[in-house]
Symmetry: C2
Subunit: 412 residues, 2 copies
Amino acid sequence: MHTVLQEIELTFRYPVHFTAGVFDLSNPLLRDVIAASGDLPARIVFVVDRGVVRAHRGLTSVIQRYCSQYPETMMLAGRVLVVPGGEKAKNHPGHVKDVQRAINNGGLCRHSYVAAVGGGAVLDVAGYAAATAHRGIRLIRIPTTVLAQDDSGVGVKNSVNAFGKKNYIGTFAPPFAVINDSQFLLTLSDRDWRSGLSEAVKAALIKDASFFADLERHASRLSGRDLTAMEETVRRCATLHCAHIASSGDPFELGSSRPLDFGHWAAHKLEQLTNFRLRHGEAVAIGIALDSTYSLLSGSLPEADWWRIIRLLQELGLAVYAPELRLHLHAPEHPRCVLRGLTEFREHLGGRLTIMLLRAIGKPYEEHEIDAGTMIRSIDILKQFSRRPELPEYPVDREKEHIHAKSERVAG
Amino acid sequence: MHTVLQEIELTFRYPVHFTAGVFDLSNPLLRDVIAASGDLPARIVFVVDRGVVRAHRGLTSVIQRYCSQYPETMMLAGRVLVVPGGEKAKNHPGHVKDVQRAINNGGLCRHSYVAAVGGGAVLDVAGYAAATAHRGIRLIRIPTTVLAQDDSGVGVKNSVNAFGKKNYIGTFAPPFAVINDSQFLLTLSDRDWRSGLSEAVKAALIKDASFFADLERHASRLSGRDLTAMEETVRRCATLHCAHIASSGDPFELGSSRPLDFGHWAAHKLEQLTNFRLRHGEAVAIGIALDSTYSLLSGSLPEADWWRIIRLLQELGLAVYAPELRLHLHAPEHPRCVLRGLTEFREHLGGRLTIMLLRAIGKPYEEHEIDAGTMIRSIDILKQFSRRPELPEYPVDREKEHIHAKSERVAG
């Protein structure tokens, strides 16, 4: 017997830029990001969210014009690839293959670039394709939604769905650079504008009580689509997210703790239970409300803090309840019971079940045992908030088949 | 404009164990590897090379028995999955999917295990599937060939082929542990026994002149299938390989240099040109001979050193020439010309062309310009060695169609 103990150290560095009008001919940021790395002119493939192209007529021409302005720095390798956005994009392996094919046809190497422009799903699909082609093409993320700008787009993960499970296949792969362009937020639907704010509430709850207080102070400006307030919120949330990844000691999640995912075990399950009728951010708001209420009922979170959380979510226009929370509650391991999300969350991450709960706003702690009865009572409490006029109307008939058919129709 | 500069540090550690009889009931190594990490009993999926199962009748039962001996440590999650071995396994995405499906059906989490038993291709397929399911299941590699034990199996890469290109899709993903079991080497064909030695010659040439001298001293024992000599060679080569990865400063190959791939630009291309009639190790031997000869003709490598290299390869039973080296030499960018391999090598790695050449045995240097005429003269010189009786007979008719049809038949 003989053993070699191998130890490998790696350092990844990437900038997260905040700008406005990234493709304006007068904005040199994207050019500068590429020019800084040498090997010029660099080949670049653009992958753009179809929803963004629809909201910004002529965007593909604008991108082409931007690239052709800097022939010494970048060379557009092939046509701008437009892919469908939203969660559906992650369900079909063909989209990953399309991006990989564009990378191959464009003759890209590891020092070339894939620039992904879109919401979190498109960034995920393009990111997974880029991370695996040649074992890693440089990825420039240009997130276009609040959710992608303040959360997923600045992180180190990508994924697609498989075997009916969200994010089942993916890698940890830091991007080469992230460019958050606030101008893209102006064309978001109200739903997409609001739903990304739930990740800001989450980051504030587990990291920064003063950020939470500022969210309370600016809640009406935020829900009223004040861009300056939103820019500030996105910047603070993204910065907290980056700082957590860098300082957690476990950026590739080899251990069992996952504090950035407060409220997410129920959120992931709710997205699936609603056939993705709920946006990720909408599901996260409900997940935050649920785990905050569980924290209250377990005696760890003061009632005043709990009220502030529920009130802020509502002031931001985020629902705290969905009827799918009540499906099959008598059978916690039923595939369509939200409590099954605890098992799936543990299984996805590995090791012991570890759920983040709250002692106070800004003060999280880890819990390894969740009591089903207390969780069901938490759901009962949130149900009282299901009738506020600003919340979307959900079907009251909770027969499984009915909801299933309805949500499929909405999702389709 | 505002910028957050993100910096992420990671450390990966894994042991490379050398043992004999890993599945003997009296050998606790595999149990100990798993037991050391907690979260017990851990689920484990075995992926085994069909060629290994054929050479070791009853292996799947032996594995089942081994696992059932340690119920407190490991739990076999599903049947032992047998997949085809060899390069063909990497051409069909279905094999990756099969492993991912077994991981999903087995309810594996990130703290569970995939144990891959086989040659480099099976380790690559299972490794890619494990690296992407849940963004990374722990991988235990149990390489069964000389090549996998002394080279690819101890490294940090996995891959499959796509778009007609070898290793086009993959990730950098350090294993959880590697177990090199010398008993598997006893059942290798002579071809597989010998061909893995070319990576030992490579490692010696670029890292360790005294290892090269020892290979010369033991050449007849090695080609005569002396297991003790082979164990020593595998251990030294694997250790050099590990040390290089740990000390290179660029384990995930973000830069342009790739010293471990001496002789590999031509090797990868020759595998493709012969439709994988040549084993990777056989192609590497020719690639080493080619770049050594180029080093000689460029005036950097002394003739005495060059002779020692050619002689050692031949004494180890490794051919230094294949007729496919001469295809389309008048058209260096022809897809079936070996010189096109320079472009593909640069493209796969990215950045500037960087080829390792030799000043002496153990003394490499990097070259960025390769002269096609000198390379063609190098091929002419090697052709003189094509007629030694111990080398396989290749077709003398060099018409493209003929060779293509013949090699397809052999490979098919």
